[in-house]
Symmetry: C2
Subunit: 356 residues, 2 copies
């Protein structure tokens, strides 16, 4: 298992309903603003999508508040854009631990890989923190063509300090390096200023990647997008893509959910409350050695006395799926990542942890 | 315009409803067997799809009657599989005129390209025919790693004579060459024995590509698949793919429409009647010089006194979109391709042609 979210192997395909704490999806579920408009997708199915996806790009422009539709490149999930952005680099710096696909993609394209490890610190008396090593990143950029960085980072939920990052941005802009910022989870921070979209028009070195997957709770719809004011980069990525890579349902979803203010509001209310609740409770579980600070809807923890394999098994016996984090580069078998869900699920989950 | 089916630029985005004779989609529309089960797709949306797509592959195995799910590789439309199959070849033979993406993909991957041109003959007194040049193909295979061949071929609708093709199959099997057979339209011939699926277990050189797009009238759903008993080839293609490349709606569609016997039956009844009707009528249009024999739901024609640009314009004025076929390698500005639709549309279309 290299990803979270496999509720099939031990669940659905055996007829068992699992509570999925392994993948990080908004528990508010599919926005009604999509479901209420699904008929227009059904009506569009018999046609090829607009090969230029003009309406989709217009919606993205409105949502992200950038000045041109030409900044966008669309993907069958963020996975496609991550893969193609990485394919542009011969030598890449990957900030780790992070989403395992970065490394898989880089190897697939034969990139030479450098790593910059997060550094650990105490955030306060009870909370640990993994943060970016800005100096190390700046040093290592000399030896690569670009960097990919999770923001918020997965599996720990850290976000970039923009002041600290300024030197990196400037260096990359002046030296023709590419910065791939994976913002798949950014909306969960609740602060739009956290995003690097506000920098994208100024810095051509930036490409930001986002998706409907996490915040809008639609991993099954397969829609992601890249944003860059670097026309050449956008064109090179497009040249590697196949036509009609976005399905008719994703087209309709984009045009509706991004302007669903009620859904966005409710999500931010939920995460604000539940993040605090979960972190507070997790600190009290006896086999959890460290809880890491997070800005989003998942929490990285280090265990003691029980490793992630055993904990996975114990949770699975109780019909809960968790994410063993031992296959993240730099982490070991004492790391696990938990989703944050609605209160009822969280209580059930915490009770299960307490019972182990 | 390099593809058919752009009803957006001159139609939808200007608020004009066009009758689309440029793309070749089953006019019976989306199968109810999909629509009736759409709720299960909606329920699945909040989860990542099964990364192995086990149920989807089972349905494909049942439909195609091959012996193993392992023969399948799934794509976000046939376009993805065509692209990745071509990427396996350093030197490729393309049978032309054919789907323009073959050449675009081959160039993208830096393949050295050889061409084998269809040869023209009179089929009978009133019908022309473009057919494969089997001898030329066999000769040229020496200089390449593999071949891609449309079957039925687009834009003319020819199918392969299996007896004539036998030597080619044997040669490729014995010399490590790959044969990519694009069967996107094969079900329209009405004869399952036309397909090369029956040869796929015997010949490891074969990879067959299909989709839900044309026959099941769902270009918007984005689902295609490759079938090969060549495990190494299947694995190499999979290694180039991104995870979760099939969306939740396509998953549900595959599991339902492929066993929709009523839809399949009705489609075959329709095409049998309408193909004859359209061909018969097209022969009588004064500016149509040649009508080409077809086995499927589109007809290639050569015009006289009016070129495809002018004909396109005249049709567009009357709210009908046609496919200019001048950008197919080997064809010129006197070629057009027409879809075959339901009787009512066909009559309207033929009346428009007669009025020009």
């Amino acid at each position: 298992m290299i990803h979270g979210g496999d509720v099939y192997t031990d669940g659905i395909l055996k007829g068992i309903e699992l509570l999925d704490y392994s993948s990080n999806i908004n528990p508010l579920g599919i926005p009604y603003s999509f479901i209420n408009n699904i008929n227009s997708a059904i009506n569009n199915l018999v046609r090829y999508p607009d090969i230029e996806y003009r309406k989709v790009k217009y919606s993205l422009k409105e949502y992200t508040n950038v000045s041109s539709e030409e900044f966008f490149v669309l993907g069958n999930g963020a996975a496609e854009i991550i893969d193609l952005a990485i394919s542009m680099l011969k030598r890449i710096l990957i900030v780790v631990p992070s989403f395992v696909e970065y490394e898989i993609n880089a190897k697939k394209w034969g990139c030479k890989i450098e790593y910059s490890h997060l550094i650990e610190r105490n955030y306060d008396k009870t909370l640990h923190d993994f943060t970016y090593d800005y100096k190390d990143i700046l040093n290592k950029l000399k030896y690569v063509d670009g960097i990919i960085i999770g923001h918020p980072n997965n599996p720990n939920g850290s976000i970039i300090d923009k002041d600290e990052f300024k030197n990196i941005l400037m260096y990359c802009e002046n030296n023709g390096k590419i910065i791939i910022v994976d913002e798949a989870f950014i909306e969960f921070t609740g602060n739009i200023d956290d995003s690097f979209i506000s920098e994208v028009e100024k810095y051509k070195c930036l490409i930001i990647i986002r998706a409907l997957t996490k915040f809008f709770s639609m991993p099954g719809i397969r829609f992601g997008y890249g944003i860059s004011s670097n026309k050449k980069l956008v064109e090179l990525i497009k040249m590697r893509q196949n036509p009609w890579n976005i399905n008719a349902f994703a087209e309709v979803a984009v045009q509706n959910v991004l302007k669903d203010k009620e859904y966005i509001h409710n999500t931010l209310e939920w995460i604000r409350e539940e993040k605090e609740f979960m972190i507070d409770k997790l600190k009290r579980i006896y086999f959890i050695n460290k809880v890491y600070r997070t800005n989003v809807n998942y929490v990285l923890c280090e265990t003691k006395n029980i490793d992630c394999y055993k904990l996975y098994e114990e949770c699975l016996k109780r019909n809960i799926l968790i994410r063993m984090a031992d296959n993240y580069r730099g982490l070991d078998k004492y790391y696990v990542r938990f989703a944050i869900k609605d209160r009822e699920s969280n209580v059930r989950f915490l009770n299960v942890l307490s019972s182990i």
